[in-house]
Structure formats: C-alpha cells, structure tokens
Amino acid sequence: MKRKSRGAFLFLTPSVLLLLIFFIVPIILTICFAFTNMALTGSAARNLQFIGFQNFTNMFQDPDFRISVWRTLVFLIFSAVIGQVVLGFILALLMKEKNVTFRRIIGIIVIAGWVTPEIVVAFCMVAFFSDNGSLNQIIGWFGISPVSWLFSFPMVSVIIANIWHGTAFSMMVYQSALDEIPKDIEEAATIDGASNFKILSYITIPMVKGSIVTNMMLVTLQTLGVFTLIYTMTGGGPGTATQTLPVFMYNQAFVNYQFGYGTAISLVLLVIGIVASLFYMKSMKVKV
C-alpha cells in the first residue's frame, strides 16, 4: 500500500510542479506586488518598496474605482446573468425537441458569435454601432435619424456585444443538460395535467440546476475578465461610462504606469469573482 502511494506521488510531481510554476507563484507574486509601489517608469521603478495598504486605501478613496465597480456590476448583471444565462436558456428551451435542421440553422447562427475572437467581435460591433454603421443605416430605412450609439448608449452597446459573443456557450450547456432529462418524467407530468409553466419550474429547472450554477459561474468569471471588447469599442469612455474594473486596471497599470496599484485592483477583481461564485453556489444550494 505504502509503495503504491509513493509511486502515485512520483507521477503527481510534474503536475504539481506545473501548478506551482504557472498558477501558485504568479498568484503569490500578484498578492505581494499589490502591497508595493511598483511602477513601470519613474523613480519608483528603481526603488521597489513595500507600502503596506497604501494602494488599497488609495483605491477605496478613488471615485473612479467606485464608478468602475458599479460599471462592472451593471455590465455583469445585464450582459452575463440576464443576457447570456437567461437568453441562452430560452434559446435552448425553444430548440428542445425541434427538428434537426432547425436546430442546426439556429445553432450555427448563435455559435458564429461564440467562435468569433473577442477582438473581431469588437471591430464588428464598432462597424455595427458607429455613426455610419449598419444599425444607423437600418433605422434610416424607417426614417429615423442616426444616433451616435457608442457615445449616447455606450453601456448598452457593449452589453449587447458581449451577449452576442457569449450566449452560444450558455445555450450549448443548457442544450446538453436539457437533453439529459428523461422524457418520461415530463410526459408523466403532462398526463397528470401540469401546465407547461409548472413543468418548467418544478421539473425542468430543478433537474438542470447544477448546469445552471456551473454555467452562471463560468459566464460570470468570463465576463468579469472582458477587456478587449470594451477597450476596443469605447476605450472605457466616453468619460468613465464603460470603465469596468479590467479597463480601470489597465489604465492604472499601463497608462499611468502604476503596476502596484493596478495589481491591487486585480486582487479586488479576483475577490469579486470568488464572492460571486460562492453566492451562486449558496443561493442554488448546489455543491460543486
């Protein structure tokens, strides 16, 4: 028995080593740097000093930080929770047990958004929402005068872009979960006289609860990290209108060259991700 476990440890070593080098050390370094005055240039770049909680004190006093947290939450709730998760579920539900050709056509359309790289999505969306873009041409056919979407409705624009990009993932997760539900359970409920809504809320949703939570977590963490899309479409602006935490972090680290401060912000982002995940698990009473 002992010998066997020693062998197992031997085989574990490479993966533990890899984890250590590529995951654990960077995380520890990130945590350490968040307490320093690390900067890209200027005299601080030469004298790296531990400055205690200075970065965090600055951050919580910074109105831009508070705005960014708020923007992040708005972006998260509308583009991830409501947009992708709900829309993805509805799409999957509508496609359930439809004929194969129909499923394929819808599937291809939705998945097109998902397989497109984020930066390409961003450029497509700029082309769509810009002053001379497709959207303004379409509404022009109905005699509506053009709107500066990216300026007047920047948050709505980036939310729509992220929904377009991410919904397919939720849809696919739910499709496979819905397909797993044994047909006879729902049929039995129908025979017992349950309405479609009752079947959905008492049978279908509880049976795919695990998938919902996992999906919500994945989508939330993915959305918390969205940077390219927003940065390319609006640069976080106008003003601070679409400045989510990743954009704020980038600005502090690579525009202001304050790496220590940027790292501290990234830690907050990490904490938000963890809290959100725990919240989902708790609220849906699922053990993952």
Binding site: L18, L40, T41, G42, N58, D64, G237, Y257
Partner: protein, 460 residues
C-alpha cells in the same frame, strides 16, 4: 489496465517536461549582441505608424548603407515598434528592462524621458556629448532641458522639435466671411470664428481639438497645455517644485473646452473626438474633404498634405494655413505654443553602447538630422539646419519655426506622466459633457493629491 495507466502517466510527465523546457528556453533567443560575421549589431527602436512610416523610409533611403560602408564592423538593425503613443512607452520600457531585449538606441518622447531616466533605464550621455563638438554650439539650447534628467545629467540627444498652432482651411474661412490669413488675437476670437463657421457652413466641423483620452499625451499637451500656458498660470511651479492643481487659468482652460464642445457645439462629433485616431481622421480625411475648418495640432501635421504625404492636397499653401494660437486675453507675447519632440537615447542595458553612440553621432550630424526633419515635416533641434538647402523653404516651416520663440515646455518632472494621465481623462470627461469645469478642477486636485501626496501639490 495497469499498463495503460502507466502509459498515460508517462505521457503526461513527458508532456509537462516538454512544456517546461520550452518555457524556459524561449527567454534566451533574443540577445542583442554577437551578430553574424563578427559585426556588432546596433538595434534602433522607434515608434512606427505603419508600412508608410516616414522615419522607416528615411532610414532605408541609403542612410544605413552609408554608415555601414564607413563602419564595416557595425551592423545597424532597425526595429520599429508599431503601437499607439501610449502603448509605445510601455512597450519600450518593458524591452529596456532586460539586457536580452534592450535595444541599443531608442526613440524617447521628451515627455517621458525624465521618468525613464529616474527609473534607471537610460544611460547618461554626459561624457559622450562633452567630446562632441556639435553639442555645445549647434543644438538649440532650450531643447537640452528636455533631455536633462532631474539629476542634471543628459539622457538623450534631441532629434526633432515641434510647435503647435491652428491649422485652417483658407477657402472655408473665406466662405464664412472670416479674414484670411487668420490671426485670432485671443480665445474669444477663436470661439467666435468657430461659431461663425457653424452658422454659415452647415456640415463643416468648425474646430477640432484632441480630447479623447485614447489619443494619450496629445490631449494634455495639444489641448489643455496650449490653453493653460496662454493664461497667467502653469501646471507646475518651478520655484516651489509643486504641481498647481487648482488655479484660475486651469478653470478657464476647462471652461474653454466646455464652451467649444458643449455650449457652442462647434467641436467634432464625439465619435470622432473620442477615437484614438482623431488626429489622423482630421488631417487625412476631414481637412482634405473640406469638412473641417480649423484644428489645433502640431507643426508636423501639415506634411500629411505634401506630395509624399498620406493625403496630398494640390497647391497646399494656397488652401491651408497655419496660425499661432493666441493667449487667453491677447496678453504678452500674444501667441503661445507648446514644444516637445523626440530624442534618441541609449538604454542602460544596451550591449553595444560605443557603437550605438557612433551611429547616434552620425544620425544627428547636420545633414542627417536635417534630412529627417525635412522628411517628417518636423522642426530641427539643430540651429545650423537653416543652412541646409530645403529646410526653411518647406511650406509652413518658417511659421512653425517662428513660434519656437514663444514656446513653453512640459514640466521637467518625472511625475509628469501621472498628472498627464489624470488630465487626459478629465479633459475627455469635460468634452463629453460628463463633468463641469468646476467639478473637473476639484477632481484633478483630489486625484493628483491622492497619487502624489499632499506635499507635492498647491492651489493658486
């Protein structure tokens, strides 16, 4: 079954080892020295704007060949960095941090050179310039301040200089009934001209100023400081060594931007203004199409319309003009301009400093230094460039050069980048109507105080 498991584990182990070795070995591949045939390789890095980049073209127009013929032991490798202005700074800093990636000569924006010097990325060049006869007499004296670090050492050789003013379309101004040549005496006349154009010429953007923070330092220097230094205030108090984060001049400058964009609505549309390419859009599209009447921009911008420029205009001197930007109330000296420019520096981690300096001296001799600014439409840091044929007879050069007399420079301080970033964001917020001028002053004061500390700021 057991065998299978063993195989899987072995494969996994091998794969992870492979990953590790590749990850470790990639660090060594890019060492600067020891090039082929025993020659010393000098890498020169600068910001390129793409395949049509004038500086790249200039290097490749026989300049490097000539140097290599004269110096057979040195090989010059140009390594342009394709990036926006803001990204360029962070990219070269990351390169300069390691001896494996540090170039041997690097183009430094004079706004960041003090920060990079303070960070220890740049090599002091005092000994080299002391032994270089051109340095003392031939370089314009006040440009040397721009390459001097806070420790008083020289960290670069000025390569280009510039001034800023109002570019305007003579035909459009004449159509609107405004005097040509245009020479506004104060801020009100600039705003009034913009309003007139808006009334008389619908569809024409009256006045472009760079306000989108994605345009980076241009926002601070070309828009805010052009205004601020025309008031009685400045951004930095040289005597107390403190940042002036609140002053009547600052408030008035913010009010000007607010007036232009939100009250008169004579600025460009936000879609254009907030675009990182706002400057290029103005000079390559809107001006040539006759859709823009005026723009505050740098002296180099007009070269866009020259025969070999990005958007040539025929008989450009008849159609386009360059006017000095007035001081707030026309107070002395009447006009104001900010001057900046680029310098060549040698990174501290460079492996070929001697060869690099040799090339730098060659690059900055009278003929070559002037050749570059002629190609780029910039002003020369050398006072003997006027003797080189073709320099002063370029369109607009005389006007731009004359402005150097009233030129102001950005604060000589390594915290400038931090303050500038704050200003970029604030100017954008004002222009897009998200922040009133009064709140903007308050926000600047709060943010800069928080970043730099109470003892580094003052209120006027």
């Amino acid at each position: 079954m057991k065998m299978n498991k063993f195989k899987v584990s072995m494969t996994a182990a091998m794969a992870s080892l492979l990953l590790l070795t590749t990850a470790c070995s990639s660090g060594n591949s890019n060492s600067g020295s020891g090039a082929a045939e025993g020659k010393k390789e000098v890498t020169i890095t600068f910001r390129s704007s793409g395949s049509e980049d004038t500086l790249t073209k200039y290097f490749e127009s026989g300049l490097i060949e000539k140097f290599e013929t004269d110096n057979p032991d040195i090989k010059i490798k140009i390594a342009p960095v394709l990036a926006s202005e803001g990204d360029y700074t962070s990219k070269i800093v990351l390169q300069m941090k390691s001896p494996d990636t540090a170039p041997d000569i690097v183009a430094e924006d004079t706004s960041i050179i003090k920060s990079d010097a303070a960070a220890g990325y740049l090599e002091p060049l005092d000994t080299q310039v002391a032994g270089w006869s051109d340095w003392k007499d031939k370089f314009i004296e006040n440009l040397k301040a721009g390459v001097t670090g806070e420790d008083g050492k020289i960290y670069g050789v000025p390569a280009t200089s510039d001034t800023r003013g109002i570019w305007y379309n003579k035909e459009l101004l004449a159509q609107a009934g405004l005097p040509v040549p245009f020479k506004p005496a104060n801020w009100d006349e600039v705003l009034e001209a913009a309003r007139t154009i808006k009334d008389k010429l619908p569809g024409v953007t009256p006045l472009n100023m760079i306000v989108g923070k994605s345009s980076g330092e241009g926002v601070t220097m070309q828009t805010l400081e052009m205004l601020l230094y025309g008031t009685n205030d400045t951004l930095y108090n040289d005597e107390t060594k403190k940042w002036v984060v609140s002053s009547p001049g600052l408030l008035d400058s913010f009010k000007f931007i607010n007036q232009l964009f939100n009250v008169d609505k004579t600025g460009p549309s936000m879609q254009v203004a907030l675009n990182g390419q706002a400057g290029s859009i103005a000079f390559q599209q809107l001006f040539p199409q006759g859709k823009l009447a005026m723009a505050v921009d740098g002296s180099w911008a007009g070269s866009t319309w020259f025969e070999n420029g990005a958007a040539p205009i025929e008989n450009v001197a008849d159609k386009m003009g360059f006017a000095p930007f007035p001081t707030q109330n026309g107070q002395e000296p009447g006009a104001i301009t900010m001057s900046g420019g680029w310098a060549w520096s040698i990174p501290a981690q460079s492996q070929n400093k001697e060869a690099a300096w040799k090339f730098l001296e060659f690059l900055m001799n009278q003929e070559n230094a002037t050749g570059r600014v002629v190609a780029e439409g910039n002003l020369s840091p050398r006072n003997d460039s006027v003797d080189v044929a073709g320099y002063t007879d370029r369109t607009y050069t005389a006007e731009a050069q004359a402005l150097l007399e009233v030129a102001k420079f950005r604060p000589a301080n390594d915290q400038y980048a931090t303050v500038s970033a704050q200003l970029q964001s604030i100017v954008e917020s004002i222009a897009s109507g998200k922040l009133s001028p009064e709140d903007a002053v308050k926000q600047l004061k709060d943010n800069v105080t928080r970043s730099l500390g109470e003892d580094k700021v003052e209120v006027k």
